[in-house]
């Protein structure tokens, strides 16, 4: 019937299973070389297939370009091909023997803040490109601000097109100084700097012999080795119940499992837990998976919990530890990025989604708008347009069970949905 084989202990499989995962996003303004950089990473790390390379080569020739335009490798939809620009978030994949990478490729135009916010929401790391000839510009600050707002744990600033400034150390150093002066105003993040030429491949995958003054690592080395183990919260136990599993079979007659993805902390069998919002207490009886029960579960594992006591629990409830509980409230403040062409109005109503919980809410107050180029609070400007960042106060119809976004991205993120069109109109980070 089926052709099965039993895998012998296989060292190649073993090393594949040992790889970990880094998600990163790229930001830069138009023509800073983002597509070229991604193309270069894919090509030099041998993640490009022959037919893809041939297709790009043919397209380059058709366009009358002198060299194989690696930027075309990441060029997606037809509309963009026609306009010659990237218009949305596109995801790319490559792997080295150490890590697998997911790139959220987002464009850098002013009107597309929402795309960068989207790409940044799941990223461990952001690459921010600066054109060596232009230095730190408004967009650089905006991208850095968004990365910090979305709490991307690591930032790598690539000063690109070093070939066009004769690979000069002074140029690099002065850009670096400018950037640091600006970034020091933001919440502390782990920042790295690199001088590169995406076009020629200097310091991307291979070390450059043109910049002997640079003693740091290449971009790929950094991506492969940056420490990501502490990017998840392993302290505050949070288990949003996603789905209740009730087999309704003779074999599992009384089984009630609470399926979900651990959003924080480490759950162990025997742990005393509290279920919110009811406040009922119980103990973890088992942590189940298809392959059998396991002893402990941590973020971002998808598991099924069973409890010692029969408690009424449904989607949207949260299982936590007794002595470490999230906020339970109908009032919250959030920094939001507005996504819709229709401006945000105070007192308007939305559907709010947070972990596995959904409620209705009202925007009680627009507190201020942020000028994303200067980071100034514009207390008098309450006109929130698409791509604006603002601080707002929200009241929900039922309590949400949340942490501040800076404490836990999984339990501090919200989206607002328009009740009439069902479009996602804003993303928010609970303050």
């Amino acid at each position: 019937m089926s052709n099965t084989t039993h895998p012998a202990p296989n060292s190649e499989l073993q090393s594949y299973l040992d790889m970990d995962l880094l998600r990163f996003t790229t930001a830069g303004s138009v023509d800073d070389g983002k597509s070229t950089l991604i193309g270069r990473l894919l090509y030099d790390s041998k993640s490009i297939f022959e037919d893809q390379y041939e297709a790009v080569k043919a397209s380059s020739e058709k366009r009358g370009e002198e060299y194989v335009n690696l930027a075309l490798l990441t060029d997606g939809l037809r509309a963009e091909r026609e306009q010659g620009i990237t218009i949305d978030v596109a995801y790319r994949y490559f792997a080295t023997p150490k890590r697998k990478f997911i790139i959220a490729d987002t464009p850098g135009h002013i009107q597309y803040t929402r795309n960068m916010v989207t790409g940044a929401s799941t990223a461990n790391l952001a690459i921010i490109l600066i054109d060596a000839r232009k230095g730190v510009i408004e967009q650089t600050m905006r991208h850095t601000f968004i990365a910090s707002l979305l709490r991307i744990p690591h930032i790598v600033v690539c000063v690109n097109k070093m070939d066009l400034v004769e690979y000069k150390e002074e140029v690099y150093n002065s850009i670096r100084k400018d950037y640091q002066a600006f970034a020091s105003k933001l919440d502390s993040i782990d920042i790295h700097f690199l001088p590169i030429s995406a076009l020629n491949g200097d310091n991307v995958v291979d070390r450059s012999d043109k910049m002997p003054w640079y003693e740091g690592s290449t971009l790929l080395y950094l991506l492969e080795n940056i420490h990501i183990a502490s990017d998840h919260n392993h302290i505050d136990c949070r288990f949003p119940v996603q789905y209740v599993i009730r087999p309704m079979s003779n074999e599992h007659h009384d089984y009630r499992g609470f399926a979900g993805r651990v959003a924080g902390g480490i759950f162990k069998t025997g742990d005393k837990v509290t279920v919110l919002p009811s406040g009922f207490q119980s103990k973890v009886k088992s942590i189940d998976t298809f392959s059998g029960p396991i002893e402990e579960a941590f973020a971002p594992m998808s598991v099924t919990l069973t409890l010692e006591d029969e408690i009424d629990i449904s989607r949207g409830d949260m299982i936590v530890r007794e002595n470490n509980q999230p906020h339970v409230s109908q009032d919250l403040d959030a920094m939001i990025c507005w996504f819709h062409s229709k401006p945000l109005q105070a007192n308007s109503k939305f559907v709010i989604r947070h972990t596995s919980r959904e409620a209705r809410c009202m925007v009680k107050e627009i507190q201020y708008k942020v000028d994303i180029n200067t980071l100034h609070r514009l207390e008098d400007d309450k006109n929130i347009q698409m791509n604006d960042i603002a601080r707002i106060r929200i009241r929900t119809t039922i309590p949400l069970l949340f942490d501040s976004y800076s404490r836990n991205r999984n339990t501090g993120g919200i989206i607002l949905v328009d009740e009439a069109t069902n479009e996602t109109v804003a993303a928010g980070m609970i303050v």
């Binding site: 995962l21 091909r81 994949y93 997911i102 998976t289 941590f298």
Partner: protein, 303 residues
Amino acid sequence: MSKNYTLKHLQELESESIYVLREVAAQFENPALLFSGGKDSIVVSHLARKAFAPAKIPFPLMHIDTGHNFPETLEYRDWWANEIGAKSIIKYVQDSIDKGRATEEKGINASRNVLQTVTLLDAIEELKLDCCIGGARRDEEKARAKERFFSHRDEFGQWDPKNQRPELWNLFNGRKNVGEHFRVFPISNWTEMDVWQYILAENIPLPKIYFSHKRKVFMRDGQWLAGDFDFLAKKPTEVVEEKIIRFRTIGDITCTGAVESTASTLEEIVQEVAASRTTERGTRADDKRSEAAMEDRKKQGYF
């Protein structure tokens, strides 16, 4: 004992996919899993089994049968559905043709792949499905690189690449108006290599034609097509010969190309995939029709 609380990448992908499948069960009333018998939809159904254990998968597998499937695929389909205890629904492209809903393509490159769209959209309407789960991956093709996990379709089943809902963190917005539906792609973030390594690690059974076998084939546009089916018309110059081949993807017989291969175990296949320098969609004739072929079919409602 010091412990490292990080997931390895395949574990993280698995956990993400299980999360997405559970969201489907929680957010939709009447979902179905589109099952083609290919390795991607097999992996998705395997993940669905994991997501809801010890309960059964709370939605049916649905196969859109072009009538041009390899017999091995159909045999596998029925066996697998039974194995994982899933309900299965089969809809036939032939029925759409008989009812005059779809017109058979003519000529040497005729394929029923495009007609699948009609049968699928009719099935969605007839069964009032509000969500179809698919095994598409973003790494397969450029147009898919921008696809969301939850992909919203209007009442005509169409995809509008410029008006996709932004997806943040793991908050998926499956709200919709009457008549609209969603396509959900739980393994969006997997690559071809991930899928193969996972099949190997989990020892998931596959249809026989993925493995090396002897078959009558003929060469067209640089790839081997099956030579043992009458509905696949041959040009006079196309000579049928016997080769040791296997299929890297499973689709409609008329447009699924085989590769010469002696890989007869999963390990050998994984090694072959690792060494190969051609993407798997390179062996599917339907995407080659034009550079933007996939994008066009998506807009019409196929995947």
